[in-house]
Subunit: 319 residues, 2 copies
């Protein structure tokens, strides 16, 4: 591999002149530049990326913390963040943690070691208090409400959207509603928000039998539906933590000839095809805003309001 020094030697110029010529910066005589460019071509020279990073102190790379890449929620964020990064001249490094807090710590340490110019959290396994300790080492943005912590975020107001959804259901006369959440309420703020919203709207706590924890796959959705119906045969509706889970519920209903009102989240293709209602959290907006917040000087918290998309499942019919 040819280095800048080789070019300097070959052309008889100094490395700084070569550097200037290559970067089209500063003064370089046209003929000098031409000669240098010829040498560059001749020696198949390319400036070393890493050396540039070291010298400039910037990587033009941001890290993206996510549990694993295989969930629609994260796909959306990855899409929008990487699109925003591309057009801003940044590259994004995928940092799957599998919800392992130690892996997450390693990534924060990498931020500290200047491996990235910034970090975006789409999920987290450590406390805000802990994460905040790394804020000095580079910009950190979260895709959830960081509340009173001085960390920028682009987020949806879950409690609010859940509350509205429950109110909607209440207004329609529904009383028996099952709810699925992705992780238990001790770990997940989302689960807490769901539970609180229910309590607030209906004035009484969500029964434990009508709360399904750790719903991750459509299969879990079907399981949840089964358990709900066993505990409460008069069940009227299910609010699921994603369209995928709702699809699992749908499948169960089809199979057992039950009609339920179904509400998913994130307006995935499946909800459009199966035609059930969904809460659109506008993840694309959250992603691109999160990216842009990395470069704000001050801490900013941007609320992206959710939208309710109402759809009606066709009524049941036997084949």
């Amino acid at each position: 591999m040819a280095t800048i020094r080789d070019i300097a030697r070959l052309t008889g110029h100094s490395i700084s002149t070569v550097s200037r010529a290559i970067n089209h910066s500063g003064y370089v005589a046209p003929e000098t530049k031409a000669k240098i460019m010829a040498a560059v071509k001749k020696l198949d020279y390319r400036p070393n990326h890493i050396a540039r990073e070291l010298s400039s102190g910037r990587t033009h790379r941001i890290g993206l913390i996510l549990p694993s890449a295989n969930h629609p929620f994260f796909h959306r964020l990855v899409n929008s963040i990487s699109a925003a990064a591309l057009s801003a001249g940044y590259e994004v490094v995928l940092l799957p943690t599998n919800y392992n807090r130690h892996v997450e710590v390693d990534r924060l340490e990498e931020l500290r070691a200047h491996a990235f110019d910034g970090l975006i959290f789409t999920s987290r396994s450590n406390s805000f208090d802990f994460i905040m300790q790394y804020a000095d080492y580079g910009p950190i943005v979260c895709c959830e409400n960081t509340r009173h912590y001085p960390l920028s975020c682009a987020y949806k107001n879950r409690e609010n959207s859940f509350q509205k959804t429950f109110q909607r259901l209440k207004a329609k006369g529904y009383r028996k509603i099952g709810v699925t959440v992705s992780r238990n309420e001790y770990v997940s703020a989302s689960a807490q928000a769901t539970i609180r919203a229910y309590q607030r709207v209906f004035g009484l706590p969500l029964k434990d039998e009508l709360l399904f924890r750790d719903a991750l796959t459509p299969f879990d959705g079907a399981t949840a539906a089964g358990e709900f119906l066993a505990a409460e045969p008069g069940l009227e509706a299910i609010l699921a933590n994603s369209d995928e889970i709702a699809a699992g519920v749908y499948q169960y209903c089809q199979h057992h000839q039950r009609q339920l009102t179904l509400i998913g989240q994130d307006n995935e293709l499946i909800s459009q095809l199966l035609n059930f209602s969904t809460i659109d959290n506008h993840l694309n907006d959250i992603g691109s805003i999160a990216f842009s917040l990395l470069f704000e000087k001050e801490v900013k918290k941007v609320l992206v309001p959710a939208t309710f998309i109402e759809r009606h499942l066709p009524s049941l019919h036997q084949a």
Copy 2:
């Protein structure tokens, strides 16, 4: 930010001793090491990632070329590749090209500039001949058959699986079959393979009215179904280029009360829920194999055979 020199100064040792202590390599007296570690803690020191990369010449980072992140096909590959990378101590950088060959060239140039230790192509917009020129600068692996080119790959034999699928349909007595492809046959090897397979099985060329090009979204699937049926009212089956597209076809059929045999690809959730047949290309395997091939000394080409998953759509019924 404290540097290794600060630690050296504070402890009164040389930077090389500090380096050895930090890296747990070479000889360092226990007390010396303890003293150094104490200083490390005291000064909140962390070795600079970039400097290490420059010094060692390796980044432990691989680039992943893909058109954009929003297609299930790529999700699968991203998942499996990033999982494989994680467990091998590598990080993956997402490199969306939007099928723009110039962007792709820029990424190849980055490989040349040592920004990555290797590159995986999940799609490409440049010729193999062109890409090969960069093979000297670092390992390159493709997720499609590289044929006679000396480039490693993990791939599915598309022509073979399409052929088997057509044979299956032929055996069932089907003759009127529509086919969707994602890009036209002049650009896409996959489209060519589909067309050839049809010709080989049925002995006559696929009619142009029964080939839909540029099918990217479920909406395109619905459009394709409409066009096929307009051109050939007796249409019996559609082979789609993905489960998403097939789902679009499904939607059209539902809406227009038509019964068609549907075959998608990649065994996505939607095909399971809607219960139509699909060709499972085992993208997870392709991804993890592709990653492992980066580190093989020789060029290797690994065929991952596809599997046909037969499912039966429930017959039509009016609500």
